[in-house]
């Protein structure tokens, strides 16, 4: 069976572990969320920068194209039925858009250099240029992708993949600007201009972000291997076909390294096929940082757990010691209590039996003793006996009196034991009571020449019932005389001690032996030295029981050499009678 200490330690460790794990989990989550938030913020900053540049470029391109299609010559060619003059006129008008050497992608982004342009006729078909070389060569297939079923009324942005005349796989950004007739207000044509798309890569060194375009299920992202482009293209296709969200992001693995991939629809609401801008952002650094942080947190957690274990152990030891002691004591106490209870039950039973027995016996004895006494007293009244017979009768009568006293004491004790004795308390002048008994003592025929000393005030009021207080005083005084020696002395002293009245009764004579001192208050015990002295061994017991019943006590103050002294305490009467006459 597990000890209390082990249980406590286990419980504390469980709590500490749970708290540590919870703390670690929360810390890790906070750190991870913070890192992700930072990453997202960083990424969003990059993307937003990119978008701002793109928006500016789009706005510039739109303005440029809008200005071009408003050119009077182009309108004149379209409106005045001079389509043969359309491309020649446009050549002049759009010369600055097309002229110059093929610029690098970065220059293209800045100079708004167009790669090609075409006009659409009223039905949305491409108007064939007389000399395609001047306005950007396009294969028939590619040119066909510029056409619309119906001319659009607003500018359309689209993307055109794979120019066949260029070895490198590229995507052109195309802008279809409608041309409205100044005469009818209807859309009579559209100018479709193809631009080099804006390249993000390399614009901001250190960011590590790469951008490209997803179009028709194919990803065009320069800087990535063909296989990686194909893989990512497939992933994006799955995502954009499943979700209709214009933008979102997810994490992908590119060449074994984690990347955050962001996509956004480049040409929402366009009649051209949907194209998505794709940005990938390497997560390796962030992941490494996060990984390191996790390790640090785990290390801190281990230390915390270790600390928690040590602290728990210490606390468990401290806490368990008194509890374990208590448990042992408690076990011992339980055993003792059981034993005590058994003893008590047995004693109680015995006591009850003896009480009942005493009471019954007293009652049973009282009647014959009374008859016996009455008989003896009747005999004493006769005058025809020898004087020797009277003496015998007197002795018998004396013994009968003693027997009556014993029976009375036993009856009283049995009442006390049974708890049936009711005290009717009233103020009693103890001094007066003692005086009366001392008078009675003095009147007794006595061979001992005992001197009596009295040291108490005239009035000492105690609370109690007079006959019982009287019985106590009588017992003690009789004993002091009974166990005295010739020419001895009795000292009776009384005083008030706060709320108690103390009465000391001392006498000269052989002291009570130390062994006997322990038993003098037990019933039917008589001093070993006093066997010749009349008594039945109930007096002290009865006196103490009565004193206690009155809220006081009786004890042996001491008994050595020539002096034995008892002390009895009573409660002070709360109210002394106003008149001395009331006190008998």
């Amino acid at each position: 069976m597990m000890s209390f200490r082990t249980k406590l330690l286990t419980a504390m460790m469980l709590v500490v572990s749970a708290l540590t794990i919870l703390g670690l989990y929360l810390a890790q989550r906070t750190v991870a969320a913070g890192a992700e938030h930072d990453l997202q913020a960083n990424f969003q900053a990059e993307v937003s920068w990119l978008h701002k540049v793109q928006e500016l470029r789009h706005a510039a391109l739109l303005e440029r194209c809008g200005a071009l299609v408003a050119k009077p010559r182009i309108h004149a060619a379209l409106e005045d039925n001079a389509l043969d003059l359309l491309y020649p006129s446009a050549k002049d008008e759009l010369r600055d858009l097309m002229e110059g050497d093929e610029p690098s992608p970065e220059q293209a982004a800045r100079t708004l250099h167009a790669r090609f342009y075409r006009f659409l006729n009223g039905t949305g078909a491409v108007l064939s240029p007389p000399s395609p070389k001047d306005i950007g060569d396009l294969s028939a297939d590619t040119a066909g992708q510029l056409a619309f079923k119906k001319l659009p009324e607003v500018t359309q942005i689209g993307y055109l993949p794979e120019r066949t005349d260029v070895a490198e796989k590229t995507v052109d950004e195309i802008m279809a600007v409608p041309i409205f007739s100044t005469e009818t207000g209807d859309v009579i044509s559209a100018l479709v201009v193809g631009f080099e798309p804006f390249e993000f890569a390399g614009q901001r060194t250190g960011a590590g972000m790469k951008s490209g375009i997803w179009l028709n299920g194919i990803l065009h992202l320069p800087g990535l291997s063909q296989s990686a482009q194909a893989y990512l293209g497939g992933k994006i296709t799955n995502t954009v076909t499943k979700s209709d969200r214009a933008q979102s992001n997810f994490t992908v693995s590119v060449n074994g390294a984690p990347h955050l991939l962001f996509y956004e629809r480049l040409n929402p609401d366009s009649l051209f096929p949907p194209a998505y801008e794709i940005c990938i952002y390497p997560l390796a650094n962030s992941m490494a940082r996060l990984h390191q942080l996790r390790w640090q947190i785990a290390g801190a957690g281990a230390l915390l757990l270790l600390g928690g274990f040590v602290a728990s152990n210490f606390v468990a030891a401290r806490l368990s010691a008194p509890v374990e002691k208590l448990a042992v004591d408690s076990e011992r106490n339980r055993t003792q209590r059981k034993r005590a209870e058994a003893a008590l039950a047995s004693t109680s039973e015995e006591l009850e039996r003896s009480t009942r027995y005493s009471a019954d016996a007293s009652h049973q004895l009282k009647t014959p003793v009374t008859i016996l006494r009455a008989g003896l007293e009747a005999l004493l009244t006769r005058e025809d006996f020898d004087p020797g017979v009277y003496h015998e009768l007197s002795v018998l009568l004396h013994q009968i009196h003693r027997l009556t006293g014993v029976i009375d004491d036993l009856l009283l004790l049995s009442l006390i034991d049974a708890g049936h004795l009711q005290i009717e308390s009233e103020p009693i002048n103890l001094s007066q009571l003692v005086e009366e008994w001392l008078d009675d003592l003095g009147a007794l025929p006595d061979s001992l020449d005992v001197k009596i000393e009295k040291k108490f005030p005239a009035e000492l009021y105690v609370a109690g019932e007079k006959r019982y207080i009287s019985l106590i005083v009588q017992n003690l005084l009789e004993n002091s005389r009974k166990y005295n020696r010739p020419e001895g002395r009795i000292c009776v002293a009384g005083h008030k001690d706060t709320d108690e009245i103390v009465l000391n009764i001392g006498n000269t004579g052989r002291p009570i032996t130390r062994d006997a001192q322990e038993h003098i208050f037990e019933r039917f015990h008589r001093g070993s030295g006093g066997t010749a002295i009349s008594g039945h061994g109930l007096g002290l017991n009865l006196a103490r029981e009565l004193a206690r019943l009155h809220g006081g006590d009786l004890r042996l103050v001491g008994s050595d050499s020539d002096w034995t002294e008892f002390e009895v305490r009573f409660r002070v009467a709360q109210q002394a009678p106003s008149r001395a006459a009331e006190i008998v």
Binding site: A70, K71, P72, R73, H75, A76, A77, D80, N81, A82, L85, S181, T182, E183, T184
Partner: protein, 214 residues
């Protein structure tokens, strides 16, 4: 029937002796479309396009006698200026073979050109002081839409007619053509780029014919 058709039709009668060139007159009124702008003190005529139809605003019409007439001996000279970024006049009828000068009366460059089938030309950019004044000979009958390459809103109309007898109506559409030869002709009223009305007329010397295009 377009102007070319009229010319071809009249060619049949080209050999007929022309008896007299004089003294017949036509007067009347052309019902013009409702003006869309409130009349103002200083009237300016401009070319507006409503539903692809070019016309002057406020509306004016050109009334001309269609027939076969001898070519002028010396080419005549007309002017369409550019003033306040508009053509002045905005509508000019001329006889075939007329040289039209386009003086720049503004302080800015103009570049007058036309892609119209009747005449394609491009005068290029020129300043007000440009001398000689850029001009062009219009030798094919038809409507020539004049544009400025610099000011895209500018429009002018040049109606090239194969007849010496033509006149622009006043704002109420009233016209009077005089000094006409007697004989059978077709009187036409050009109202806008899509509307030309015609009526046969029988002209007699000294007589004034009243023709209304209502």
């Amino acid at each position: 029937m377009d102007l070319r058709g009229i010319v071809s039709f009249n060619a049949i009668f080209a050999l007929l002796p022309i008896l007299v060139f004089a003294e017949a007159s036509i007067e009347g009124r052309v019902e013009l479309p409702k003006s869309h702008s409130a009349p103002v003190m200083a009237k300016r005529y401009e070319i507006v396009t409503i539903g692809g139809v070019l016309a002057t605003q406020p509306p004016l019409a050109v009334v001309y006698l269609d027939g076969s007439f001898p070519k002028p001996k010396s080419p005549s000279m007309k002017q369409i200026g550019q003033k306040d970024l508009a053509f002045l006049p905005s509508l000019l009828p001329v006889q075939v073979g007329t040289r039209v000068e386009f003086p720049n009366l503004d302080d800015t460059y103009h570049n007058i050109f036309s892609y119209s089938p009747a005449k394609r030309f491009d005068l290029g950019r020129y300043r007000p002081e440009e001398r000689p004044i850029p001009s062009e000979v219009f030798d094919v009958p038809g409507l020539v839409v004049l544009r400025c390459d610099i000011h895209e809103h500018m429009r002018g109309l040049l109606l090239v007619l194969d007849t010496p007898y033509f006149i622009t109506t006043d704002e109420e559409g009233r016209f009077r053509l005089s000094g006409l030869p007697s004989g059978h002709y077709t009187l036409k009223a050009w109202i806008d780029s899509k509307t030309t009305r015609e009526k046969p007329v029988d002209l007699k010397r000294g007589a004034t014919l009243h023709v209304d295009f209502l």
